[in-house]
């Protein structure tokens, strides 16, 4: 037949388990221990409170700009929960919820956001990468780590995060192609929050779903309701297990929404209709999860109240510790020259001494900042 349709063996499915009212599809409902469910919920509460507090601190000039999570908690926690501690976590720049789940201390995040490299604190055992600011540029790193895992014959997996805007970058394309060519144990988790700063999805790409971008690589790809923590978990878990078994990568598009501003430097009212935000407020992942937990009898209103208060206190304490640390840190110039190279070349050492001399001279003059 001169004109024939090529069978691509590829279709895109959409998964949802918990609906907007917190009603669950019992067939698909995953079996998550109560303790974990409640931990996830507590973390959601904490992240919300933390976001809000950071906004205040930023407006007061005590920290710099940052990217809030609000609206994307389910997408981040549902997926990161599926990851083992010994698996690798490759964030973009908005994954505060996932990063807190991995064990980051709030005070460290504040130190970092206040402009200090020391806020990045990893141990030798850490398998979390630092945040990556250039959009999509971290995706190939996750692919490389997965390649390392495969070469070593380890059974770890990499979970790499990025946004809808990131899918327009060449780095996304090259990395996903690589991952599939080598069948690497990596899961790509795209948080499609419908905006890249002021650019809405339909100006970002003409494709109907982002998931279908995986078809370009012959990669297993699917869409989930990203505000449904159960669906995100189920999809990620399955993808991770496939990856762990050597069945290659998966691309997951989690449909979610950035309820807040892009960063504190941004004013979304300039470009985005209030209606749209309202629509998405109704799909807020937090109350939905809360309803589910209440319906299952894990949670009651009092617990929510107490835990909300506990979150405020936890953040209070983190802020106090952060401020104490800042005091201690001073403006030590040495930090500029540390970790530049394994060992600084002589002229860099001379530059270091130059700065030290300046700072000393200033101190001797009794000058502050």
């Amino acid at each position: 037949m001169p004109i024939k349709t090529v069978d691509l063996d590829s279709e895109i499915t959409h998964l949802s388990i918990l609906d907007e009212k917190g009603r669950v599809d019992e067939e698909l409902e995953p079996d998550i221990p109560e303790e974990d469910l409640l931990d996830l919920f507590k973390t959601m509460l904490l992240v919300r409170e933390f976001d809000e507090r950071k906004e205040k601190l930023q407006r007061q000039g005590r920290i710099g700009t940052f990217a809030p999570v609000r609206g994307q908690e389910a997408a981040q926690l549902g997926s990161i929960y599926a990851l083992r501690k010994t698996d690798w976590f490759v964030p973009s720049f908005r994954e505060t919820a996932a990063t807190i789940w991995r064990g980051m201390r709030l005070e460290d995040d504040l130190v970092y956001t206040a402009g200090y490299e020391e806020g990045i604190r990893f141990t030798k055992e850490s398998r979390d990468l630092p945040i990556a600011v250039p959009v999509a540029s971290q995706i190939p790193h996750g692919v490389g780590i997965a390649w390392g895992i495969q070469l070593k014959g380890a059974d770890d997996v990499v979970l790499t995060f990025f946004g809808d805007g990131a899918t327009s970058e060449g780095d996304f394309h090259e990395a996903l192609n690589f991952a599939q060519v080598f069948r690497l144990p990596v899961v790509f988790l795209c948080q499609n929050n419908r905006w890249a700063i002021s650019v809405p999805l339909h100006k970002q790409t003409h494709s109907k779903t982002l998931a279908q971008k995986g078809i370009a690589y012959g990669m297993r790809s699917l869409q989930v309701d990203g505000n449904d923590i159960l669906a995100v978990y189920v999809a990620t878990r399955e993808a991770i297990e496939r990856a762990r078994k050597g069945k290659g990568p998966t691309f997951i598009e989690a449909l979610t929404y950035r309820l807040s501003f892009h960063t504190t430097a941004d004013d979304p009212t300039k470009y985005r209709p209030a209606d749209e935000v309202k629509e998405w407020e109704k799909r807020d992942p937090l109350p939905r999860f809360q309803e589910y937990l209440i319906k299952r009898g894990h949670l009651d209103r009092d617990m929510v109240k107490n835990w909300t208060t506990a979150a405020v206190i936890e953040v209070d304490h983190a802020v106090e510790r952060f401020e104490r640390r800042l005091d201690g840190m001073g403006r030590d110039p040495d930090a500029i020259f540390e970790h530049a190279y394994a060992k600084n070349p002589p002229y860099v050492e001379r530059q270091r001494r130059e700065v030290e001399d300046w700072v000393r001279a200033r101190r001797e003059e009794g000058g502050g900042e």
Partner: protein, 327 residues
């Protein structure tokens, strides 16, 4: 306050050029509805419509690459990259094509585009938002690299860059975006062509070379120097670091015999290196002291809490001038 900020001046320059020449258009991430993340294109979408002020997908390669195509076709695109720190995504398009089409096509195809990008420190932002790596572009033959020091200069130089027949990398010192105001000239039509450095203050004893945000620190330091040490400095704003107007610099050094050069970028292979080399080459016999470079250090730019320790401070500049004078 009277006058306009640099952000407003840039906005005004684009507005006027777009009104004057319908082949001028602006493309980039968030330049339309949002008016640019620094508001440099505020209002342009309303005025010129979405065919000429275009929000693009998040793709630096396609922004620069399609701007090349637009320029080949006869447009004069202004491509905005959100920060110089993300311009390297498209570096191969600039190195491989923007700088070469004229040569490659024996003059048939030219790419008179302007790539605008904020650069340098000063906005308390995350990593990759504070670097000064203008030397990458200045080392690339075929490009012009322009850096304005003030609102008025920003207006004038951006207009000249848009009209220039060669591709221009237009680097905006983001620390100056909202620092100070200046009146724009009454006659908005006269725009001098891109042309080298400007002597912003004449003097006899030492030549001070700078550009962008560091020029102000240099000028402040010079004020102190002149007051306390009773000397006169000649201050040169390079304005363009490619092609580099070393003739103006050398003429000055042949008068003063001494020079310092100041920039934010790392010292090694920064613009100061080229200035020092050209002064040594062409003014050797006039030189009474080595050319002093007062610059950022040869390490990764620190996050913003320690930025000021990294940048040339007024004190460091003052000291550098004194060392040079005392040599």
């Amino acid at each position: 306050m009277a006058g306009v900020t640099m952000v407003q001046a840039l906005n005004q320059a684009m507005r006027e050029e777009m009104a004057r020449d319908e082949t001028v258009l602006l493309l980039g991430e968030d330049v339309g509805v949002d008016g640019g993340i620094f508001r440099v294109s505020d209002g342009l979408l309303d005025e010129f419509g979405e065919k000429r002020v275009v929000d693009t997908p998040l793709s630096e390669v396609a922004i620069v690459g399609s701007a090349i195509g637009l320029a080949l076709y006869g447009f004069r695109p202004i491509a905005e990259l959100q920060f110089s720190g993300f311009s390297y995504q498209a570096f191969h398009q600039v190195e491989g094509h923007v700088s070469r089409y004229r040569k490659r096509s024996q003059g048939r195809y030219t790419v008179p585009l302007v790539i605008r990008m904020p650069y340098g420190a000063g906005v308390r932002a995350l990593e990759h938002h504070s670097e000064s790596r203008e030397a990458y572009y200045a080392h690339t033959p075929g490009l012009k690299v322009v850096i304005p020091r003030s609102p008025r200069k920003a207006w004038e130089l951006l207009k000249a860059s848009i009209r220039d027949p060669d591709p221009v990398v237009f680097m905006e010192p983001k620390g100056l975006y909202r620092r100070g105001r200046e009146e724009l000239p009454k006659d908005r039509r006269k725009v001098p062509a891109l042309d080298g450095a400007e002597i912003v203050q004449e003097g006899e004893d030492i030549t001070v070379v700078a550009y962008g945000a560091m020029l102000y620190r240099a000028m402040e330091a010079v004020k102190t120097l002149e007051r306390e040490d009773v000397v006169n400095a000649e201050i040169i704003d390079l304005q363009m670091i490619a092609p580099l107007d070393s003739d103006t610099v050398n003429a000055s050094v042949q008068k003063t015999g001494r020079a310092v050069v100041i920039h934010e970028a790392p010292r090694t292979l920064g613009v100061g290196a080229e200035i020092a080399a050209r002064i040594t080459e062409e003014s050797f016999l006039s030189l009474e002291a080595p050319v002093k470079r007062i610059t950022g250090y040869d390490v990764q730019v620190p996050m913003f809490a320690r930025e000021q320790l990294y940048l040339p401070s007024e004190e460091r500049i003052l000291q550098g001038m004194r060392d040079t004078l005392a040599f």
